[in-house]
């Protein structure tokens, strides 16, 4: 295994891509369940995810193997292959709801009237291309996407904060029942695949001392931004919040200067959209990576995608396209399916499996691979491949 990413890119991925997907539907859904306390279920889930991300990031300090290599070492090649396929399916599944959200978001912010589905289909051209390009590409894109999204969010926050009235969040933790918080958390779980993402990034960058902290802090920072966004969102829309899907495109419209210069806020929204599209494509990239891993094929040859990854990307996108066409007008059905039944899959892959890396590490034995270096967090050496 060669290094595909550097630590900075892992941090950027964990900051930008994880936040981007949570700004569309999640605020409105959480406000539906928890009103002004919408930040609470998000905070709870985030705390668990930060712990999961830290567990994986810290495990990176002890081994330079990928997750699947660890599995192979402990449970054998067959188990590793099975898990590869399962993760490929998981990431394809994780892309379904964001894809539907994206379709609706695109229809809302790029068109004045609801357009035909055909206008969204070119997304799959991009998705096939990006999906085949591999993780190195994702890391490089994150180098641009994070600053782009950061600046855009700052602009949008600055334009919308004047309209916010934090009083709408009151009374804090008085009006929301535990069951509502639980429902909110459960219905937001499908937005949280971050632990699983980190698991995929494991062993794909050269770990240096302190990197686990950097990665965890990057993710925590992105969590903070999302929580801030939730607070700002409810402070602006309050009782209207449950109906305000795609709030990111609506928050800044109250900025008084827009009445003169037009919707310049859309430039920032479109910049965030670019990041969102890459975040969505990242699921497909991860899925393709897993498929290639399961087939034992290289994902890229030099700078070009390998035939295996191209075929995998086409196949995964074809399935997603079929799902999109089949459920084109049934977003709520898909959402209900994810919120009521499939959330358990997300719990398993993004919350349970990441901490299990430690068990795997122990299963491998400290000196079994000869790459563990005491407690300094710095690896003694690095194998040519993992």
């Amino acid at each position: 295994m060669t290094d595909q990413l550097c630590t900075r890119q892992v941090c950027f991925i964990m900051a930008a891509y994880t936040a981007a997907g949570k700004l569309l539907m999640m605020p409105a859904e959480l406000s539906y369940y928890c009103g002004g306390d919408l930040w609470l279920p998000a905070l709870i889930v985030y705390v668990l995810q930060v712990a999961a991300v830290w567990a994986v990031a810290f495990a990176c300090s002890k081994t330079d193997k990928t997750f699947f290599a660890l599995i192979e070492g402990v449970l054998g090649k067959a188990a590793s292959k099975v898990l590869c396929w399962l993760f490929a399916l998981f990431f394809a599944l994780a892309a379904v709801l964001p894809m539907f959200s994206q379709k609706l978001f695109v229809q809302a912010i790029f068109y004045d009237t609801i357009p035909a589905l055909i206008t969204f289909l070119p997304f799959f051209v991009f998705s096939v291309y990006a999906g085949a390009k591999g993780l190195k590409n994702a890391g490089r894109v994150a180098d641009i996407a994070l600053p782009l999204m950061g600046i855009s969010l700052i602009v949008l926050f600055a334009m919308s904060v004047g309209e916010a009235n934090v009083g709408w969040l009151l009374p804090v933790l008085r009006t929301t029942s535990a069951s509502s918080v639980f429902s909110g958390a459960r219905f937001s779980l499908y937005n949280f695949t971050d632990g699983a993402m980190m698991l995929m990034l494991m062993g794909r960058f050269r770990y240096k001392k302190g990197d686990s902290l950097k990665i965890t802090l990057s993710y925590a920072l992105s969590a903070l931004v999302v929580l801030l966004f939730l607070v700002l969102f409810y402070s602006i829309f309050s009782v209207l919040s449950p109906d305000q899907y795609f709030a990111i495109s609506k928050m800044a419209i109250f900025f008084s200067a827009l009445s003169i210069v037009g919707r310049v806020d859309l430039i920032a929204v479109y910049a965030v959209e670019i990041c969102m599209l890459f975040a969505l494509a990242f699921y497909i990239q991860l899925s393709v990576t897993c498929v290639c891993g399961a087939l034992g094929k290289e994902q890229s040859k030099g700078r070009s995608a390998s035939p295996a990854s191209a075929v995998a990307s086409v196949a995964i996108n074809a399935v997603l396209l079929a799902v999109l066409i089949a459920f084109n007008n049934s977003y709520l059905v898909v959402q209900e399916a994810f919120g009521r039944f499939l959330w358990i899959v997300f719990v398993l892959f993004a919350f349970v499996l990441p901490p299990l890396v430690w068990a795997l590490k122990r299963g491998m034995g400290g000196g079994a691979n000869g790459k563990v270096s005491g407690g300094t967090g710095k690896k003694a050496g690095r194998p040519p491949s993992g």
């Binding site: 009237t113 009151l170 009374p171 602006i236 829309f237 209207l240 899907y245 035939p307 191209a310 075929v311």
Partner: protein, 401 residues
């Protein structure tokens, strides 16, 4: 190797297909989208309740060839339906132009809308993602269709003139209120369950110069825009009063004084003007550095509303030119005038409070504040906050120095 070349051939074929598809779409652009040629840009909407449902009047800016002078022309079309959405669809059917509401900045409710639940009337606008929540909302006496059909003195669109009557300048001087769709829903959906909006009135003003815009009525039940009114009968719009709603139902129209008091409390006022009579003499006092607001405390289980207001005053006009005693500055306000101004403000607030109590319309947001800051007490007296409410005033007006 062979597999790779086959893949490359497939990719090349896909590229060619894609380019062909793009070019086809480019030169046809026909998959149900509404371009600028097929659109009417609706700038204002008037809603009237009828026996059959709703009449929705859309005032739309229509393009005229640039060679024709390029002035802003408009058309006004009314559609009918059981719901607002149906009425808007009726407009489309009548004109052939798709009414895009993305630029709709004004929603006027006719007097008849008072018969229906406020949020039911406006439901369409909250459900539609393409209507901006920044659109201003107002109510008018009589029919909204008639109001929008009036020709303002500048000959432009009535909606523009109405929006000018609710401009930020007027809002900042406490003369007019401004409420948009978002604020309205927040007020009406809060525990206070009360909302207000400007009440538009119009009257015939003096001659207002030449009329350059053409106002053509649409087909069907066209609004007043079709008539060619002379400049002499140009309408003047004012929004000095407010319509109040409690529990979604129309609760009445505030007087100008009550509206002034409401604005002092609910809006950020920069400069207000109050006329006070002191010793039989008229003083017009300008108020700046305004700070007004309402807060709530619970004292022994009783909610007490504290209405506060502070400002610095200067004399803008008076029937006696000399300066205040002991000063060479004629802007200084004598103490008795300050007291009189404070009393005037207090009287207006008092009048507003009485209106609220009388109509059960919690325009101060007392119940909302109780909900936010005294949730336990809110649970105890929920629904009967207004009758139990006591009021305290804290009005401080000083003279500029």
């Amino acid at each position: 190797m062979q597999k790779k070349s086959r893949l490359q051939a497939a990719a090349r074929a896909a590229y060619i297909l894609l380019i062909a598809a793009m070019l086809f779409l480019f030169f046809t652009t026909d998959f149900g989208l509404v371009d600028i040629h097929k659109t009417s840009i609706v700038v204002a909407v008037g809603i009237d309740v009828t026996e059959e449902g709703y009449d929705v009047t859309a005032q739309a800016a229509i393009p005229t060839p640039a060679q024709g002078g390029g002035s802003a022309s408009y058309t006004q079309v009314t559609g009918s339906g059981a719901t607002v959405a149906e009425a808007i669809a009726d407009i489309n059917a009548k004109t052939g132009f798709y009414p895009k509401l993305v630029f709709c900045n004004l929603v006027v409710l006719g007097e008849s809308c008072g018969q229906r639940d406020l949020l039911t009337v406006l439901d369409y606008f909250y459900r539609n993602d393409y209507v901006p929540l920044t659109a201003l909302v107002a109510m008018c006496g009589g029919s909204a269709q008639e109001l929008l059909g009036q020709k303002p003195a500048d000959g432009g669109m009535s909606s523009s003139a109405i929006q000018r009557a609710m401009s930020d300048e007027l809002k900042n001087s406490a003369i007019a209120s401004t409420v948009n769709l978002k604020l309205l829903a927040q007020d009406a959906g809060s525990p206070s369950n009360a909302a207000y909006m400007p009440y538009v009135e119009y009257g015939s003003g003096a001659s207002g110069g030449t009329t350059t815009a053409s106002a053509s009525g649409g087909s069907g039940s066209s609004g007043g825009g079709g008539s060619s009114k002379s400049a002499e009968s140009a309408a003047e719009f004012t929004c000095k009063r407010c319509a109040a709603f409690a529990g979604g139902a129309f609760a009445g129209v505030l007087t100008e004084e009550q509206t002034f008091a409401l604005n002092l409390i609910r809006s950020n006022i920069r400069h207000a003007v109050v006329n006070a009579v002191c010793n039989g003499e008229n003083f017009t006092v300008g108020l700046k550095n305004n700070s007004g607001g309402a807060s709530l405390e619970v004292q022994s289980g009783v909610p007490v509303l504290k209405l506060s207001y502070s400002a610095l005053a200067n004399v803008q006009s008076s029937s006696s030119r000399p300066a205040a005693e002991g000063s060479a500055n004629s802007h200084l306000v004598p103490d008795e005038v300050l007291l009189s101004v404070a009393q005037t403000v207090r009287d207006r607030m008092d009048s507003l409070f009485d209106f609220c109590k009388g109509s059960g319309c919690d325009l101060f947001g007392a119940e909302r504040m109780l909900y936010m800051y005294y949730y336990d007490d809110y649970l105890n007296i929920k629904g009967s906050v207004l009758p139990a409410l006591k009021v305290e005033y804290d009005i401080k007006i000083d003279s500029v120095r």
